[in-house]
Amino acid sequence: MITVEELTKRYGAHTSVDRVSFQAQPGSVTGFLGPNGAGKSTTMRMMTGLTPPSAGRSTILGVPYARLPNPGRHVGVLLDASAQHNGRTGREVLRLGATVMGLPRRRVDDMLETVGLSGSEGDRRVGNYSLGMRQRLGIAHALLGDPPVLILDEPANGLDPAGIHWMRGLLRGFADRGGTVLLSSHLLHEIEVIADHLVVIGRGVIVADASKADLLAAAGTVVRALDPVALARCLDAAGYSYDALPGDAFVVDATAEQIAGAAAVRGVIVTELRSADGAGLEDLFLQLTADDSREKVSA
């Protein structure tokens, strides 16, 4: 469980994080989504005690980060996979972490195995690692203390498609066992597959905070008919708001059942009827995080 309350960070006159509040619940994956420079990393650094907040507070398992005894055993943190000494081997990086946390040496080998850096790869210097390998090492470091909470900043950066698939499975399993996961990304499609809950930030302000299902529903339904003009009349008559999409389709603010019903009344033949999901969420994301969009959208 992660709780963030009114966290604010000001640099001089510039407010880079503005009264950000949200929660990440146990047993679920919370996606922290926003374009580059939206304030994701600053928020995560404030949550982990690296950046002093100008105002507000945050807790992990009900306790401020700095008051967690042996924090590595309670929360696994990966803020920047490249922030490792290039002269150390992957195994040495984990060994240092294991020593601070008071873990047996065996745990280091187990984690290298878990993230696919077993054998000679663990004994290479981090300076010779690809970004994907550094991400795997960073994830191994976050998992080292077997914590119930994970905070990961852009962990999919640099991973190949197989690596992203592997990470999704790993985090899904972690959440299904009751763990709390907060992971950030600036790419919607990267986390929409895995996240149960989405917190969207734009220009330092939370612009959406809802379950993925609710956000998908809010994205509307795509409908296409043989006669788009007749379909538009049906939608007008039923009182549903809609937007035209390319190819004579509409995205409608109503459920599939409601639209099917409206079309059936007038005998309009519908050729496509589906949740707007991916594409709709993408539009929503772009719209929510557009430069001029600062108001909170209730989803």
């Binding site: 469980m1 929660q23 619940q25 146990p26 047993g27 679920s28 990393s41 650094r45 982990t48 005690g49 690296l50 950046t51 002093p52 398992l61 009900g62 306790v63 980060y65 700095a66 967690l68 005894p69 042996n70 924090p71 590595g72 055993r73 309670h74 943190v77 803020l79 920047d80 490249s82 922030a83 490792q84 000494h85 290039n86 002269g87 150390r88 040495e92 990086v93 240092l96 972490g97 020593t99 601070v100 946390m101 008071g102 470091h141 119930p148 299904d176 066992r177 009751g178 763990g179 709390t180 149960d196 809950h197 809802a210 379950s211 609710d214």
Partner: protein, 268 residues
């Protein structure tokens, strides 16, 4: 706020596990000691300190007059190279966390930056003590070789004060390097300023005649010079060291510590 409908397999931890205790200081110290030697930079720095200590003793063995081959002089020969290299150890111990950005990990695993700073200081002081002990041992071997092979004086005469001041001299350098590291938080800047500023300062005092009297009170190099000239500090020397060390070690240390405790730890 919605909660998941999926039943968790085990009761999720709502509070921190009460069975987990804070990180004991001993583990922090062990990690900081290990970090001094587990990188190429650290490993070669320590290796260089050891090799150069041996090298100066060997050189001294061959170039010094036979009557100069005493234990005290061998110890004195090791003092200069060690006093140049040991502070780098103190500098890198702090600055690597920033220039290599490992501080992101270090300070999330132990959020008390004061504890981390104390562990680092203890680690570099311990290694500094070890380096001085090695120097005393190598100097002893040099003196033995001098009396056996070079027909040297071979005198073992030394006072507790000589050894004490040798430790004071080297530890002062290590702590000063550590302070500069905390203050500047960049390996390059700290190393350059650590060497350039005192040299420029010393040059200033030696060029401007009117400042000569003030030099022992304001210039650390002048204040510690008796350690090289007489192999010990006496009387006024201690007052000079107290004042100059306050200016060049204590003040940078305090300012650096404040900066370390407050600075935002960022990745880029």
């Amino acid at each position: 706020m919605t909660t998941t409908t999926q039943p968790p397999l085990f009761r999720p931890a709502a509070l921190p596990d009460p069975g987990v205790a804070a990180v004991p200081f001993g583990r922090l110290l062990r990690v900081e000691l290990r970090k001094l030697v587990d990188t190429r930079a650290g490993f070669w720095l320590l290796t260089a300190i050891g090799l150069i200590t041996v090298a100066v003793v060997v050189v001294f063995l061959f170039v010094a007059d036979a009557d100069q081959l005493t234990y005290l002089n061998f110890v004195g020969a090791t003092a200069t190279p060690q006093s140049i290299l040991l502070p780098v150890l103190g500098i890198l111990a702090v600055t690597a966390e920033w220039s290599q950005r490992t501080g992101l990990v270090t300070f999330t695993l132990e959020p008390s930056r004061l504890r981390v700073a104390v562990a680092k200081l203890a680690a570099v002081v311990l290694v500094g003590l070890l380096a001085v002990l090695v120097a005393l041992g190598v100097a002893a071997l040099g003196n033995l070789a001098g009396s056996l092979l070079m027909d040297g004086d071979g005198s073992w005469a030394f006072e507790v004060a000589n050894v004490r001041d040798f430790f004071v001299l080297q530890l002062l350098g290590v702590v000063q390097g550590f302070a500069f590291g905390m203050l500047l938080m960049s390996s390059a800047a700290a190393i350059v300023l650590y060497y350039v500023v005192p040299i420029a300062w010393t040059a200033l005092f030696s060029m401007v005649g009117a400042l000569a009297d003030a030099a022992p009170w304001l210039d650390l190099n002048t204040a510690i010079a008796p350690a090289f000239d007489q192999q010990t500090f006496q009387g006024d020397d201690w007052a000079h060291i107290a004042v100059t060390a306050t200016i060049w070690v204590v003040v940078p240390f305090v300012l650096g510590l404040v900066r370390l405790l407050r600075r935002e730890v960022k990745s880029g």
